[in-house]
Symmetry: C2
Subunit: 609 residues, 2 copies
Amino acid sequence: MNAHAKPQPQTVTTGPIRGSRKVYAAPEGRPDIQIPFREITLTDPNEAPVRVYDTSGPYTDESAAIDLARGLPAVREAWVAARGHETIPGRAVRPEDNGNVSADALVAPCPAERTLRRGREGQFVTQMEFARAGIVTDEMIYVAHRENLGRAAMLAEAQARIADGESFGADIPPFITPEFVRDEVARGRAIIPANINHVELEPMAIGRNFLVKINANIGNSAVTSGAAEEVEKLVWATRWGADTVMDLSTGRNIHNIRSWILRNSPVPIGTVPIYQALEKVGGDPVKLDWEVFRDTLIEQAEQGVDYFTIHAGVRLPYIPLTARRVTGIVSRGGSIMARWCLAHHKESFLYERFDEICDIMRAYDVSFSLGDGLRPGSLADANDAAQFAELETLGELTKIAWAKGCQVMIEGPGHVPMHKIKVNMEKQLRECGEAPFYTLGPLTTDIAPGYDHITSAIGAAQIGWYGTAMLCYVTPKEHLGLPNRDDVKTGVITYKIAAHAADLAKGHPAAQLRDDALSRARFDFRWEDQFNLSLDPDTARAYHDETLPKDAHKVAHFCSMCGPKFCSMKITQDLRAEVQAMGDEERAALEGMARKSEEFLEGGGKLYI
Amino acid sequence: MNAHAKPQPQTVTTGPIRGSRKVYAAPEGRPDIQIPFREITLTDPNEAPVRVYDTSGPYTDESAAIDLARGLPAVREAWVAARGHETIPGRAVRPEDNGNVSADALVAPCPAERTLRRGREGQFVTQMEFARAGIVTDEMIYVAHRENLGRAAMLAEAQARIADGESFGADIPPFITPEFVRDEVARGRAIIPANINHVELEPMAIGRNFLVKINANIGNSAVTSGAAEEVEKLVWATRWGADTVMDLSTGRNIHNIRSWILRNSPVPIGTVPIYQALEKVGGDPVKLDWEVFRDTLIEQAEQGVDYFTIHAGVRLPYIPLTARRVTGIVSRGGSIMARWCLAHHKESFLYERFDEICDIMRAYDVSFSLGDGLRPGSLADANDAAQFAELETLGELTKIAWAKGCQVMIEGPGHVPMHKIKVNMEKQLRECGEAPFYTLGPLTTDIAPGYDHITSAIGAAQIGWYGTAMLCYVTPKEHLGLPNRDDVKTGVITYKIAAHAADLAKGHPAAQLRDDALSRARFDFRWEDQFNLSLDPDTARAYHDETLPKDAHKVAHFCSMCGPKFCSMKITQDLRAEVQAMGDEERAALEGMARKSEEFLEGGGKLYI
C-alpha cells in the first residue's frame, strides 16, 4: 500500500426498500444462524406480512452501521474457523496486480482485517466434499431456511402446487431440509459458491431444485472508476435482487478494488481470471502462459472470490469450427484463448492444466463456472458445431472437477431463437450430469439493440423454466455501451421477472404467494400495498403519481387508466355487493346456475341453452 | 358541427425513420396496387438494402403531403366502388354521440369527404364472402405481396427455414400467393379487417400463417385529449410498428375524434362499442339496452371502424363462476355486461341478439373481435371455469358469425403463468375452429407493476409462437396510469420483439434476414448499419453516444463495453487474419482438425484426445 493512496469515500445506498423492513430468523436450536428476509407489511390488518427472499445484505438494515473500511460482519468466520484450515500469510501483492498503476493513482486496498486460510490436502474444504461425506454444513442449514420462505405454513398445499407446475424433470421438494441441500450438493446438482476466505457471505444455493437465481455484472473498465463506485454498483445491484455479482473489471487498481468489493459483499462474487492475467502480460493474448494464469488464480482465491469463469472448453480443434460463423467468437475469454491456441498452434493450457486448476480451486472452495467461450453471438450461429463441441468438453471437465471435490456450474448461451432453446437445456443436463446451468439470456432476436434486456428476458424465462439455475442479466446497453445506474436496476428487475416467471411455471410451492397478495391488494384498491409488494415499489408509485399524485388517490377505487366509470374491478365489487344484498331465494337460484355451469364444464359437453 | 367548434392543430410526426426510406412495389400487372415498405440502406456496398414490413403509412414518406383535414389518400376507393354497394346518406349525428358536450367544447368532425356505403343483402360484402366464392380481392393481392418481403429471392431456402422452425401445426407457405390468402380467409383462419367505409386503409392480414401482428391501444379518457392529439398517438404507434390500433376512448367528443382517427389511419381501427353505448346512457351499465347498442354499432360501422370487440360470451350463468376469483372480472366490457345481466337477471342481449349483430357488421365488413370479458386478471384466476366457459361460447358464436359471412378473431388472456399458456392456445384453436387468436400478453407474473410490458412480452412471445395471430401490447404504465408518448413507444417496440421472436421460432422463411444483416453489421463494426437495422435506431444510437459520442467511434473496432483490448470480435478478426496469412500446409492442417471435430460431432461419439 502506498502512503499517497487515494482515500475512498463511503457513499453507498443504505436503508430499507420502501414499505418493508429487514427481519432475521434463526433455525431451531441455532440462534447463531441469523437468516435475513425482507418483510413487507400490508395496510389491511387481515393480510399477513409477506416475507421475501433478500439478497441486499446489511445495507437495507436500518440498524446496521456500515463502514466500508471495516467490511461487513464476518457471518461465516466461526463456521470456517472451526474447520481447522491452514492459516497462511498470503501471496504478496505485486505492482502488476494493480496494472502497474503509478503511486499517485493507486487506490488503497480495503484495510479490513481477516484471517487468510487455505484448505489442506486430505481435509474437507469444499461444500461438495462435506456433502459427499454426509456432513451438513452451516452453509447448508442457512440455505435451506433461506429458500423455504412461506413453505412451513403451507405444507398441505405445497404438494398440490408442485403437481400443478411443470418442472421438466426437476425434483422440487414441498419443504427444503438441510439434508436435502446436502444431497443436492453431493450429487453436483446444486452449488453453494462460498470461498473460505469470503466470510462476509450470506450463503445461497444455485441449482434447479432451488429458486432460480440471477447474476449482475459490474466492473470498471479502461476508463476507470474508483473502489467506492464499484462497491456502490454491487450494493445497488443486490438491493434490487442480484443473487451473485460478477466483477468483470479490466482496468487499473483491479486487485485493490476487488478487496473492497469482497470485504463488502453479502453475495457470492465471480470473476474471469483470464482478464487480469491478460492485463499482467500487457494485453496481448499471445503472451499469456500457465504461470501468470496460475498466479492470478491464487491471488484471487486468497482474496475470497467465490467462483471463477474458466474457459477450458475452448480447444484448439474447435476454433476452425467458428470460421464460417456470422459473428465469430463473442466471448471475451473465449476469443483470448482461441487467439492463444492458434498463435501457438497448441492445445489450450486451461484444458491441459485442468487438474492443477482444480487443485488450486479446491483448496479455497472456489466454484467452477465453466465458461462457454464459443457461445453463439447471433441467431445464425445458435446451436452450431462449435458451441456443442465445447459443451461436450465442459461435460468431460465437470466430471474431472467433481472427482477432485470441486463445485461446478456451466455457462450457456447467448443468442438463440425460442425453438432452439430447449435442446440447449436438455443437452447441458445430459452432458454435464445435471450440474447447474448458468445462462446469458438467451437473446431471442438480434434486431433490438437498446432493448436486449427484453429480447433476452423472453429467452431467460423459458430456459429458467426448463431448468437453468441462474440467469445472467442483460441490460438495455448490451452491445452498445457501459450500463449506468438506471440500466443496472432495469437489468436486475427484468431478470427478477424472468426468474420469478420460471419459478411459478416450475411449481415452486411458495412462489405464487406474493403474486396472490399483490392481486388481492389490486382488487381491493390498496394502492400502497400494491406498490410495496411489487419488485420496484419506487417506480410503481412514481408511475401512479404521474396522473394521480394526491394521497387520496392511493385509496381511490379507480385509476387513471379507465377512470371511475369504467373501472372493471369497481363494477365487479358493485356486482358482488348486489349478490350480497339479494334475498335467499334469488341467491340460491344464482348458485344453482353456477353449479350447472361447472357441471357442464366438467362434463366437457355441449352448451345448454 | 358547430361554428364555434375548436380548430384542430396539425402536428403529427412525419418523415422517415432514421436510416431508411419509404419505397413502393406493385404486383406484376397491377400498377394500381402500390404496397409500401421501409427500405434500410446499408453502408457496405456488398450488402443489399433490407426491406422491412411498414405499418406507418404515408407519414414516413418524405414526398407525402399530409393534411389531416383531407385525410389520407383513399387507396381502396376504386376497389370498393367497383363492388356496387349501396350509397347511403348515413345516420345523423346526435348530441349524445359526442357525450352531449357543450357547444364551446365541441371538437369539429374531420371535414374529409368520402362516399358512405353499405352492402346490400345477397351481395358479397365481406372478404370472407368473396373468399368463399373463390374471388381474390384486391385486398388479398395487397396482403400477399406485403407479407412476402424477401421470400421471392430465397425460394430454394424457404422450405428449409420452415422445416427448421417449430410452428405447432401452422401451415406457413414458402411463398404467399393471393390464392393462399383467399383460402386462409375462406376457411376463417385469417381475417383482413377492412370496413368498406375505411378506404384509407392499407390492407393487412391477421392469421397464424402470416407474420404475427401487434395492436396498440389509444384513446382519450374522462380527462380528455383533443383530436390532433389522438391522431398523433395513432401516427406515433404505427410509426414504430403497430399493425392495428384500438381506439378505447370513453370521454367526450368521442364521435368526432373518431372521424379524425379513421380518415387519417393507414391501419385497421378497432373499438369496443359498448364503451360509447355506456356513455350514451349516462355511465350506468344497468340502463344499457339493445337499441342504444345497435345504434352505436351502426354509427361506428358507418364511420369505418374495422373491427368491434363484442363481449357476447359473458353469459348470465357464468357470472357466479367468478365469485371466488381473486380479481373478479377485469375486462371493462365484461364487467359492464355482467352487471347488466345480474341486475336484470337476464341473459346478455349481446348473446341473444348475436344474429342481428352479425347482420349489421356484415353489411360494412366490420370484423368481430369476440371479447374475453371473463379473462383472468391474476395468476390465481388463470384458466378457471369462468374463462373457459366463455371461450367455449366464443367458439359457438364464431360458427354463427361465419355462417353469416362475417370475419372473426377471438380475444384471449390476460394473466397466465408460463406453464398454463399453451393449453389456452390449444383450446382456442379447437373451440374456435382456428379463427385467429388475439391475446393481451399474457402477463406471466403479477408482481411487477411498472414493468408489465416485460412480464407480458415473455408470455406474448410464447403464445405468438404457439399460434396467436395478433398480440395486444401492454405498456409500462399498465395497472398504474395512462401511458404517455414514451410508454406507447416502449410498448410497441417490446411487442415487435415478442412478435418477431415468435416469427423466428415458427420458421417464417424471411424472418431471420434482418437479424442476419444486423449481426453481420455488428461483427464488421458497421455501427451505423447496426443502429439503422434495429427496431429503434434512435435509442440504439443514443445509447452508443452516451459513452462514445464522436463520429469516429461509429467506425471504431470496439465499443465502451469491453474497450479495444477486450473486444472479442476484434480478436476474432485478428484470428481470421492470422489464418489468412498462414502457409498452405499450416492451413490444411487446421482444416483437417475442423473436419475431424465435425465428424466427431456428427458421430455423436466420445471426445478424442
